[in-house]
Symmetry: C2
Subunit: 339 residues, 2 copies
């Protein structure tokens, strides 16, 4: 069973989308799981009442698996992420993550400021041994299967050693949350040959070959939409956070471009949206901050109730699969053998 703290105040459509998402999630999660709504109690209670008296009245049966945890401070977009932990110690982010560090919660989900969530998670959950900063892992829908791509923006200049750590984190995540046995890890580069790429990539390639991971070699930009190289299916793609972030934002913007283009060409809009639904980010479960001691999942700022629901389900999956312990073990093994 998992107790999942949800930042009820975070995101463009909070608290409506967050509270509604929690109710949708409870209906789909195993009854052993519960959700802690973290935020200003009066606001959260009013929102909950609104939904249960109105459009989500059928969800009243799940009310007893919801609790509300008071967090009076509110993070504004103008707050500096690194200053949030100290400046607003009772924000919904700090309170939600503190529940976890105190053993009162098992996971945290927020659609609020990514920077603040990362900084607060690093301070309150701390990092696994040997890691300096977490990596953000995101799902990339492909023709074949969903890929895990990391880092997607937390680390811009990475050493080969850091990229190898990302590979371990991503492989564990793909195993625990996507159920991939022995995940196939590719290194993003500009040619399949080991000697193709920039200096960091070429060195990383050599390290990954002896990492013990199921390393399938370099993958190229064109392999991501396909979900496979010519020779291998792909589960995890490793890159630095600069390239990963550029690609992620590019990918997110492509579907609207295609829909707009095709609509202008006379293709039926409803048919298009239905067809491209699996490219919709709300279908996927948020992006975990991998490497922190615990579970901290970033939901998109524009998360709908459905997106929040999927992020909560991913959080539950991360907890019940024992992802955090497994990450600790795998990184621990490496540190010891390297020492």
């Amino acid at each position: 069973m998992a107790r999942i703290a949800l930042d009820a105040m975070g995101g463009d459509f909070a608290p409506q989308a967050t509270v509604a998402g929690a109710l949708l999630a409870l209906a789909e999660l195993d009854p052993a799981h519960s959700i802690q709504l973290v935020g200003q109690t009066a606001v959260v209670e009013a929102q909950l009442r609104d939904l249960l008296d109105g459009e989500l009245s059928a969800y009243a049966v799940y009310r007893d698996r919801l609790s509300i945890v008071e967090a009076p401070d509110v993070i504004e977009m103008t707050d500096k992420p690194s200053a949030v932990v100290r400046g607003k110690p009772n924000s919904s982010m700090a309170v939600g993550l503190r529940l976890q560090s105190e053993g009162k919660s098992d996971a945290f989900v927020s659609a609020g400021s990514t920077g603040a969530q990362m900084a607060t998670s690093m301070v309150l959950l701390r990092m696994h041994a040997g890691l300096k900063r977490p990596a953000i892992a995101t799902f990339f829908p492909s023709l074949r299967n969903t890929l895990v791509v990391l880092d997607s923006g937390a680390n811009v200049d990475c050493s080969p050693e850091e990229l190898v750590q990302f590979a371990r984190l991503g492989a564990t995540y793909a195993q625990c949350v996507l159920g991939r046995a022995n995940p196939a890890v590719g290194l993003l580069s500009i040619g399949e040959e080991p000697e193709k790429g920039n200096a960091v990539t070429k060195e990383t390639h050599l390290l990954l070959k002896v990492s013990g991971l199921n390393f399938i070699g370099n993958v190229e930009g064109r392999d991501l939409p396909a979900g496979a190289t010519e020779h291998h299916d792909i589960d995890v793609v490793v890159c630095d956070g600069f390239v990963g972030n550029v690609l992620l934002k590019f990918y997110e913007a492509i579907a609207p471009l295609m829909i707009e283009t095709l609509r202008k060409a006379g293709v039926d809009g409803a048919q298009l949206e239905a067809g491209l639904k699996h490219l919709d980010y709300s279908e996927h479960g948020g992006a975990p901050l991998l490497g922190v001691r615990g579970v901290s999942i970033i939901a998109h700022g524009k998360s709908s109730p459905r997106a929040i629901k999927n992020a909560l389900k991913a959080a539950a999956q991360a907890v019940t699969s024992g992802m955090n312990d497994l990450i600790g073990q795998r990184l621990g093994t490496v540190t010891e053998s390297a020492a």
Copy 2:
């Protein structure tokens, strides 16, 4: 008027696609332009006869603007690009580019090996003062307008100074070939604020601000499909060749993913292909090697006759607009003022 040398032997569908593309181009180009088909004379002549006796018989009127230049050596995919110039001095690439360095031709187009074309162009055309290697500029279709993105793969680890040179090259290209007055140049990064990005990007941002170019600041991955940031339209996007190559290959692979996905969802295939036609690379005019003294344009290896035609038209445009001189002047000005 321009005399354009075409590598008749280069590309997956040569010589059929190249010779046919040349005929299509002559029909659309100003009558003052001529094309030099460079390759094994017997092979090229036979192909030309086939086409003029067959499906392209209506194009026989353009035959007198075509000449054939003998190039007995053939470059194989197994040839090392850097060894091609010396090892096969009479390949279609070397002969075609030598015509230009000897003043007998004004531009060169090839769908053959990109690496061999770059190496051979650097040796035979040489670089403009202050440049070590050329940058490859590619067109990215967007919702608004076509963008010039560079570098797309020739330079993987770039200094801030090199990225600023790419900006100058790209702006001149956008002006000469796309007809953009005072092209808007964006720097690809992971946030619009100047302090966002990796170390090289942050320094490049500061240099671009004082470059005299129409620098609109950082652009993000999502701005490329849109062709604009929140505040500005974009003409040129500057990045290193690692990021540029990953993005280009990703973009090229996306349209087939979308078409496949939507076809499975029941959308009519013909309607899809028509709607996404402007994302088809054959609609665009190849990728120039910017920075060499002259005009050398890379066509896609899978170029159709239509793609070859468009690359030849871009070459003609580069020549008649005086792009090469303008690049020399702009880089020269910079070198002088920096000295």
